[in-house]
């Protein structure tokens, strides 16, 4: 490890000497200062901060200063900041946002870094790595990758007398029906069995997860595949469950879903690890289960967070950023980060017992293999996700599913070209 570092360091220093003439930032001899933007605002932020502090303490020549923002405001400010040379050297962002920045040349390619044995990237969860790849090149390292899961209210399950968590879609809907309560009989349940948002779902992943369950998908090999008969069946099935069986309110988005679950008005929601803390905050007894299997497969779209290094950085800065990535991904920090953030470890070689002390992580780690990356490598994910949102929202509202799928197919294909 040390040897490679020295070698790389020497190479970088030589390059940096050439570069210093035309760049303001990286002085090869002096300490390298990096700014790091991320959106971890809760307990996870404290853990990340601790890792960064450890890193700074163990690297005399590198200082990383973090700047905590919200994920949304990173997206609002990154373009202007990077375009004016005022951006961060390292930035963490929702994984599906990385390709568009990478394809416009905002981030440095990390292919060489991945080649390096000491980069600690060899055992990364493959799906997580897919999300940092654009046109065959890797532009980041994963900071988080977790399959969507069902978070359910155990007291409501007990009240309804449901002992086992459903294993497939039919059981799932059946359980949800049992959990749906319309006490005053006005046709609007006071308690819903589930909350199935029809647009802007958690990490945009709910409907993709359902599509996978029936063997469908959105984009495969760079081609739109949304207008499949499988997807039509999926939409029909869930529309019927939501509208006819009233297992879920309509017109809800992912944030609304979290709120409904947090207020105890919905017995199940599909969400991310933060649901655990939302449930705890609201005094809700909860448990976590994998999304029940569809007719064809059991799968869940994953929530990904990726970190990238600015293309504006000097070689010394990029070298320092890579140094941080490998530090972040080393065994000790992988475990610490996983336990502290509540997300499963990013490395598949971390034994399950290492993270058993955090029950949320333990249950999410068990289902890690269900996780599929969302739209890996798709540059224009904005338009693709808008098309999917429009499709699901209109379908649930009673639109003609075949026509909607046809329209979505056209829009997604346009976005991919």
């Amino acid at each position: 490890m040390t040897r490679t570092r020295t070698l790389l360091g020497a190479g970088a220093a030589a390059l940096a000497l050439i570069m210093t003439g035309c760049s303001g930032g990286g002085d090869a001899d002096g300490p390298v200062e990096l700014t790091f933007w991320h959106g971890y605002t809760e307990a996870d932020g404290d853990v990340l901060e601790a890792i960064v502090e450890d890193f700074n303490a163990s690297h005399e020549d590198i200082t990383i200063a973090t700047e905590v923002k919200t994920w949304a405001s990173i997206d609002d400010t990154l373009l202007t900041a990077l375009s004016a040379g005022e951006g961060p050297d390292i930035v963490a962002m929702p994984a599906e946002r990385l390709p568009v920045y990478a394809s416009r040349g905002a981030f440095a390619s990390l292919d060489d870094f991945y080649e390096d044995e000491d980069s600690n990237t060899a055992h990364l969860v493959p799906g997580a790595v897919d999300m940092v790849e654009v046109e065959g090149e890797k532009y980041g390292v994963p900071a988080g990758f977790v399959p969507l899961a069902v978070y359910y209210n155990t007291s409501l399950f007990e009240d309804a007398g449901i002992e086992e968590f459903p294993q497939d879609w039919d059981q799932w809907v059946e359980a949800a029906e049992q959990l749906t309560v319309d006490e005053n009989g006005d046709g609007t349940p006071e308690q819903y069995g589930a909350v199935i948002p029809d647009h802007e779902t958690v990490a945009n992943g709910l409907w993709p997860s359902l599509f996978y369950g029936n063997g469908g998908g959105i984009v495969e090999d760079g081609q739109a595949v949304i207008d499949s008969p499988q997807n039509a069946e999926t939409l029909e099935f869930w529309r019927s469950a939501i509208v006819d069986d009233q297992i879920s309110p309509t017109g809800v988005d992912g944030i609304g879903a979290d709120e409904l679950f947090g207020s105890g008005k919905a017995a199940m929601t599909v969400g991310g690890p933060w649901m655990a803390s939302i449930a705890t905050e609201n005094g809700i007894d909860y448990a976590i289960a994998p999304i029940p299997a569809g007719p064809e497969a059991q799968a869940a779209s994953a929530i990904g967070i990726s970190m990238a290094a600015s293309a504006e950085a000097t070689d010394a800065e990029q070298e320092a950023a890579e140094e941080f990535f490998s530090f972040f991904l080393n065994e000790e920090n992988s475990v610490e980060w996983s336990l502290g953030s509540g997300w499963p470890p990013l490395r598949s070689d971390i034994p399950a017992e290492d993270v058993a002390s955090n029950p949320v992580v333990a249950s999410l780690t068990e289902m890690a293999e269900l996780g599929r990356p969302l739209l890996p490598g798709v540059v224009n994910s904005v338009d693709v996700l808008t098309a999917v949102d429009e499709l699901t929202q209109r379908a649930v509202a009673g639109g003609d599913i075949d026509a909607l799928l046809d329209e979505a197919q056209g829009k997604i294909q346009d976005a991919l070209e």
């Binding site: 933007w37 923002k69 609002d76 373009l79 005022e86 992912g254 207020s263």
Partner: protein, 284 residues
């Protein structure tokens, strides 16, 4: 309304139409004030009640939890100071620069005056979002990112203010300054000693507009400042968003309350003067 007319009518018995008008105005005012009431009251509601059904207007129990959470999550004192520096700085500069320009446009004769006025108004018609990126690059080139200078300078004059004051200056009588000029007073002297003192109502009005608009501006402080401690209280509210994008309503309303309170208090103090002032400005 002349005093005579007003007092004569005041003696008449209250007409039924006045009762109807009063009821209508009360109803409209209630709708208008409802969101403000909800901000204030929700800010003091316990979390469970904020999301309870059926909802209630008043908290059953007043709590400071939401406000405490805002003050612990945000460097709100610093943000509020920034808001004052930003909105106050912009207002101070804009009043000086706008009134100078408006004076020239209203009361001086020069080549291309009309074209210039139209050009200034036309700058209002491009959405700010369109020029944000080039503007940011420019401010970065000046080395002003994350500084008060960078935050304030781009707003130090604005087209609306120039147009507004020009309308007012046009309406001021001209005999006094004509006389002053004949007495040999310089143009600047006329501006400073004759026009400006008569323009106090308009300046106060514009000052309030400018202050309010900048205090409330979200996009510019949000995009411009890459460090949280350089943001304003309005842009800082976005930091209250939780990990999944959830904004707890109670916390958001508490944050909103902190953000709007200085403005509302300031406005209530000067409102009488302010609204009467508008009557004397050129906006009509």
């Amino acid at each position: 309304m002349s005093a005579v007319a007003a007092s004569r009518r005041g003696k008449r018995a209250i007409k039924p139409s006045t009762v109807l008008v009063t009821i209508a105005v009360v109803a409209v005012s209630a709708v208008v004030l409802l969101p403000i009431a909800i901000i204030v009251l929700t800010a003091f509601k316990p979390v469970a009640e904020v999301n309870a059904f059926p909802p209630s207007l008043f908290p059953s129990e007043w709590t400071l939890d939401n406000l405490k959470r805002v003050t612990s999550d945000l460097p709100f004192l610093r943000l509020t100071v920034n808001s004052f520096v930003f909105a106050g700085g912009v207002t101070a500069f804009a009043l000086v620069f706008d009134s100078l320009a408006a004076y020239a446009l209203a009361r001086m004769d020069f080549t291309g005056r009309r074209v210039l006025l139209i050009a200034i108004i036309a700058t209002l018609m491009i959405p700010f979002q369109a020029t944000l990126i080039p503007l940011y690059q420019l401010v970065a080139d000046l080395g002003w990112v994350n500084s008060y200078a960078g935050l304030i300078a781009p707003r130090a004059a604005d087209a609306f203010g120039i147009f507004f004051l020009r309308q007012f200056f046009l309406a001021l009588p001209r005999d006094v300054d004509a006389a002053a000029r004949i007495d040999g007073a310089s143009e600047f002297r006329v501006f400073r000693s004759i026009v400006l003192p008569n323009a106090v109502p308009a300046l106060l009005t514009l000052g309030l507009f400018t202050f309010v608009n900048n205090w409330n501006d979200l996009l510019w402080p949000l995009v411009f400042t890459t460090k949280a401690e350089m943001g304003t209280i309005t842009s800082g509210l976005t930091l209250l968003t939780g990990p999944s994008g959830i904004v707890p309503h109670g916390v958001m309303m508490a944050g909103s309350l902190i953000a709007i309170l200085p403005l509302v208090i300031a406005f209530l103090f000067i409102q009488r003067r302010f609204i009467e002032n508008i009557a004397t400005t050129g906006l009509k």
